[in-house]
């Protein structure tokens, strides 16, 4: 880096600025939209000059949307709550099941272990629509349709493979001898798992959990088909703003800002783990 000439540094700066602009502009624009009314949003040509309004956020928080065609009840805060419930519990369940499974796959090569691990990974290859329609029928029959439990179960398709594969790589990076050294000093394998393997794989587990949380939060199609309005997360809830009298761009923008805020905050907070965890664990050859 020190050897870079002045010109190189300037060019590099421009390139980075262009990248940042490219990726950040939509977020910036959404943020601007969330403070505008539909009239100013739909101006042509678009302009950055407007009188900011908090009416969009107010409508979301109070759950009452006043449109030209009349008043509409929306339950956005319920959607937000659903997002939190679904994402948190999905990740919790996936960690509870996935981390011990990842340890088993990393440490014990048994007959068919690779096949089982790969089958779990293959769930992520399948397009969600492939499974969601048959699941909708089954869920109707067994009473899991439109329940948190049913959704959390289906969300395992997203979270479990992710956690299993990232954390497995992380466990594989820990020398088994470190665990043997602990076991031979008089500790059971479970104590070794808890006191040695888990803490050493901690950053990887955190990274995998965070990534799974983001994927779960952003999921759309499972909740759209398998849940009704009172169980649906924000991604689906935002559809409510596409009303008979027009699309409420301002409210959609405000909803998007509110819904990305938690994951964004989480990602920024855990950025270090995320980069470290992903580059150390999952990319092992």
């Amino acid at each position: 880096m020190d050897h870079a000439s002045r010109l190189e540094r300037i060019l590099r700066g421009i390139a980075i600025a262009a990248m940042v602009l490219f990726f950040m502009f939509p977020i910036f624009w959404i943020l601007l939209m969330s403070f505008q009314t539909n009239e100013t949003i739909l101006r042509n040509p678009p302009s950055m000059a407007f009188a900011p309004t908090l009416s969009n956020y107010a409508a979301l928080l109070t759950g009452r949307l006043d449109t030209a065609a009349g008043t509409l009840d929306i339950d956005f805060m319920q959607n937000l709550k659903n997002s939190v419930i679904l994402s948190v519990f999905s990740v919790a369940v996936a960690l509870l099941l996935g981390v011990p499974a990842a340890y088993a796959f990393a440490r014990h090569k048994f007959r068919g272990s690779e096949d089982i691990a790969f089958t779990l990974l293959s769930f992520r290859f399948a397009p969600p629509l492939l499974v969601v329609l048959p699941l909708a029928l089954y869920f109707q029959d067994i009473g899991l349709a439109d329940t948190y439990i049913g959704l959390i179960w289906v969300y395992q398709l997203i979270c479990l493979p992710l956690i299993l594969w990232i954390v497995r790589g992380y466990f594989e990076d820990i020398s088994p001898d470190v665990e043997y050294a602990y076991r031979i000093a008089g500790h059971s394998w479970f104590a070794t798992f808890r006191r040695i393997a888990l803490p050493l794989a901690g950053p990887g587990i955190a990274a995998a959990g965070l990534l799974a949380f983001i994927f779960a939060w952003n999921n759309f199609v499972f909740a759209l088909v398998l849940g009704s309005a009172d169980k649906q997360p924000v991604t689906v809830g935002a559809l409510a703003f596409v009303t008979a009298s027009g699309i409420q761009y301002g409210q959609i923008a405000a909803a998007v800002v509110l819904s990305i805020a938690p994951t964004l905050a989480l990602a920024i907070y855990a950025q270090r783990y995320l980069v470290e965890g992903l580059s150390l664990g999952a990319v092992k050859g």
Partner: protein, 379 residues
């Protein structure tokens, strides 16, 4: 019960037994280690010595056979319940703990008093010269320091059996020499029993009471260092033990008129009086169609042409190592190495006379590799 402390009985280890190419790492291993003994498992890479150690520790399953420690069958027990301590070749220190904590955690489960733990950590750190790094973390110390910390973690325990896997591979030569003495003293003083795995003969000779030489998963010989050198049980042990290695020549024996003639493959002939070999040995040598003669480099007498004996060799190299001369020469279609304890004047290209005393001759059956005689006496 006067059983030895550790008994391995017909122990087999097969990796991937169901695959097309199962790996037989250890085969039919029988070994007895007595309390208070230091035993070295010596061999080249892949000879099965580390697999053996890990089976005793409980990190590898025993495919067949049994392992008993203090009369208890341990080969099905969890490592925690076997009563063994181990130092790992890869150090395997626990990264979030300091060196002190790493060494002490081996004791914590024993519920000792804090002062007692501190005292023993200090003692072992002093022994291994790591007092100054006790508060450091494993990632910030060198490989040699990590190795000593790992060794300390094993030696601090009073286990029934201490297993040391290449315990000094990463240390500098001077430190290695110093620690060998100290570790041996520590183990002997406390009456501990230790098995160490090494590929370094010097280390095995210096530390061990008995050495188990392994090759291809099979125990070749289990004896004291002196016995290994003086009476190798087979051709493998003979050529493996000793530095530089033993010179070997294929030969045929012929008797008659009070002499025993050993005809080497390339025409030279060694001629000894019959009574230099015991009668039984003579009979076996004549009975075996092909034999292999072995002579240690130190036992080869070298002299200017025409003096030392009727055998001729052409010198190819002469290296003075500061305290001994290594002379390499072409002999009987192969290479012969002789060691002289003074500075020899011979130059490459010169012809020298060499001789082997019957007392220094090791004779092996060429077919089985089994030793027939050492210095004329039956093996």
């Amino acid at each position: 019960m006067n059983e030895p402390l550790l008994v391995l009985e017909r122990v087999d280890k097969v990796y991937d037994p169901d695959s097309a190419h199962p790996v037989r790492a250890v085969q039919g291993l029988d070994m007895r280690v007595h309390a208070g003994e230091i035993v070295a498992l010596l061999g080249s890479s892949g000879c099965g010595k580390t697999s053996t150690l890990r089976m005793i520790a409980g990190f590898e399953e025993v495919t067949a056979g049994s392992i008993r420690l203090k009369g208890r069958e341990i080969h099905r027990l969890a490592p925690a319940r076997r009563g063994v301590a181990m130092a790992f070749e890869g150090y395997s220190l626990y990264p979030p703990l300091t060196v002190r904590e790493n060494i002490a955690f081996a004791l914590k489960s024993a519920r000792l008093k804090r002062e007692e733990v501190d005292r023993r950590v200090r003692e072992i750190a002093h022994l291994l010269e790591i007092e100054d790094i006790l508060e450091r973390y494993p990632s910030s110390i060198s490989g040699g320091q990590q190795q000593r910390a790992s060794l300390g973690r094993a030696l601090i325990r009073h286990a029934d059996l201490h297993l040391l896997d290449e315990p000094m591979g990463q240390l500098e030569p001077q430190l290695r020499a110093l620690l060998r003495g100290r570790i041996k003293h520590h183990v002997k003083e406390r009456g501990l029993t230790a098995i160490l795995v090494t590929h370094d003969q010097t280390e095995a000779n210096a530390l061990a009471d008995r050495i188990a030489v392994m090759e291809g998963g099979v125990l070749q010989q289990f004896a004291t260092p002196a016995a290994l050198k003086e009476a190798p049980a087979n051709l493998f042990t003979g050529t493996f033990i000793g530095e530089p290695p033993m010179n070997v020549f294929a030969a045929e024996a012929r008797g008659g008129s009070g002499r025993l003639r050993l005809r080497l493959d390339h025409g030279s002939e060694l001629d000894y009086p019959e009574d230099a070999f015991e009668a039984g040995v003579r009979a076996r040598m004549l009975e075996c169609r092909r034999i292999v003669l072995g002579v240690r480099p130190h036992a080869v007498s070298v002299a200017a042409e025409g003096h030392a004996g009727p055998l001729r060799a052409r010198v190819t190299a002469n290296q003075w190592l500061g305290d001994q001369t290594h002379i390499a020469a072409e002999f009987a279609g192969g290479l012969l190495v002789a060691v002289e304890h003074h500075r020899a004047a011979v130059r490459p290209g010169e012809t020298i006379g060499i001789a082997f005393a019957a007392d220094d001759l090791h004779v092996f059956d060429a077919e089985s590799g089994a030793a027939l005689s050492h210095g004329g006496r039956a093996a």
